[in-house]
């Protein structure tokens, strides 16, 4: 990672604005139970995409100092922390017989706490020299937790860990809809890719925040499209989530390719290799 060891490059969008975007994601996820079986999952998925953008920007800030282990490692670690935190939080709200609405915020807080503890250990015990490691890892764990919770809520249609009946409709809980089906393992890798890929792909001397974030919008929305397909059995809104995810992905990836072409000195199609070795 020597090419990107000097801290982040130019910042067009401040970390505070991105943090606000992530918290907007949390609010969108929270509207899920109140909007019925169609718009609820849709907004939960969009909230998760906003969290992915937040995570991708945070990884850009932390990993630009050079972790020594590559960008993906911190992505995997943040999702692992997020899954420990969000499952403990959502299950905790059910086990403690609290309102299931407390689950997501509880999971978010647990993930941030675990992320901060791990970062403090890395900084004090392992002597890592990254100035923003603690804040970055805590933010990243929180963003990853929101992305897991948002996509889980989009699949299950509810935050409840156990199945519930609302207005005559049976909602499978997160446990049945997301964990027993094994989708949680898929979300682990899917969200890791969506969060770590943008910076991992764009890092280098001419890295540009807006371009990296355009790629993170694309990875977030394609993850959303896949989540829509996963929820075929559990959600009435699966087609809407997939369709909006796919359209938004198309727009974002086109923007990203345009931005890449614009920053390139020149773009040439090399064609296929010649039939005969040229002299």
């Amino acid at each position: 990672m020597s090419v990107a060891a000097g801290g982040p490059g130019g910042v067009a969008i401040s970390p505070a604005k991105i943090l606000g975007l992530g918290l907007l994601g949390l609010i969108l996820i929270y509207t899920t139970p109140f909007l019925g079986p169609v718009f609820g999952p849709l907004l939960a998925a969009i909230g998760a995409v906003l969290a992915i953008i937040w995570g991708a920007d945070t990884i850009r800030r932390v990993a630009s100092y050079g972790l020594g282990t590559g960008v993906p490692s911190i992505g995997y670690m943040s999702l692992a922390i997020a899954i420990v935190g969000s499952i403990a939080g959502i299950a905790g709200a059910s086990v403690l017989k609290l309102d299931p609405l407390l689950g997501p915020i509880f999971g978010f807080i647990l993930a941030v706490v675990l992320g901060a503890i791990v970062a403090v250990l890395c900084k004090t015990l392992l002597k890592m020299k990254i100035p923003i490691l603690i804040r970055g890892t805590a933010e990243l764990s929180g963003a990853a937790a929101l992305s897991v919770i948002g996509f889980s809520a989009a699949i299950a249609g509810t935050f409840s860990f156990a199945p519930i009946i609302v207005g005559g409709t049976l909602y499978l809980g997160i446990e049945q809809a997301v964990i027993s089906t094994g989708f949680i393992a898929l979300l682990f890798i899917l969200n890791t890719m969506a969060i770590q890929h943008p910076f991992n792909a764009c890092l280098g001397p001419d890295e540009d925040q807006v371009r990296t974030l355009k790629l993170s919008v694309a990875t977030g929305f394609i993850a959303m499209a896949i989540v829509g397909l996963l929820s075929v059995y559990t959600s009435k809104a699966w087609w809407l989530v997939t369709l909006i995810g796919a359209i938004a992905w198309f727009i974002a990836i086109r923007e990203f390719i345009d931005a890449s072409k614009e920053s390139a000195a020149s773009v040439k199609w090399t064609g296929l290799w010649p039939k005969h070795e040229e002299e």
């Binding site: 911190i74 995997y76 299950a91 791990v118």
Partner: protein, 242 residues
Amino acid sequence: MVIDPYTLIAAVTVGGVLVGGGVHFIPVGGAPAAIATATGVGTGTAMLAAGSGMTGLITAAALTGQAPWLILASGAVGSMLMICITMLVGNLVYVFGVGCVPVSAKVDTDPITKLPQEKFVTPGTEGHGLPTVCYVSGTIGGALGGIGGGLVYWALYGALANPIFTLANRTDLSAAMVAGIFALSVFFVNAVIASYNIGGTIEGFHDPKFKRIPRGIVACLIASLVAGIFSLFLLPGFLGGI
């Protein structure tokens, strides 16, 4: 079988420490090894942990309901197999594809085979491929990681499984999945903490960086302890719930 909360915390902590310690044994070569200019498997810790850790958890989960030592042994065998296959195929590529000799630049003679190393190292590189000592070290690391992952899975499944299922000798699927994903997450957290400790690359137990293992183990111990305490939130009946 019902696991009490203290056993659960202890098992998650010990499992996490075993994973974190095991990673120090695995020859992680990183990007330099991917172009055959350093000893080790040419990828990062997170990828090796994903491969061998997931295999170990799947083999451990395949013996759900059996005696604990069988689950741990099965996890160890699964992880060892996966890491050994990875190292073997890596060596095939390095030897027959790249055309270099598996050799370590960190020691003058291989501590196991006593073969000289130094004169086979290409000047300007840190060694290539996976010599015998790295292979043995990686196998030990796979075993420790598999036992650690299996221990976390065994304890969580025992704590979560509905007694009705266990009495009928059936697997409680949702408990198995919750335990599995939680064990996988604990595995990843500790694998990455250990990889931060070794600064990304290590050759195995003969590498000077291996001396950093106490620090890594303390960090993994604390992080796993916190994860173990978080796992209490999953338990119905604890903390005055259901």
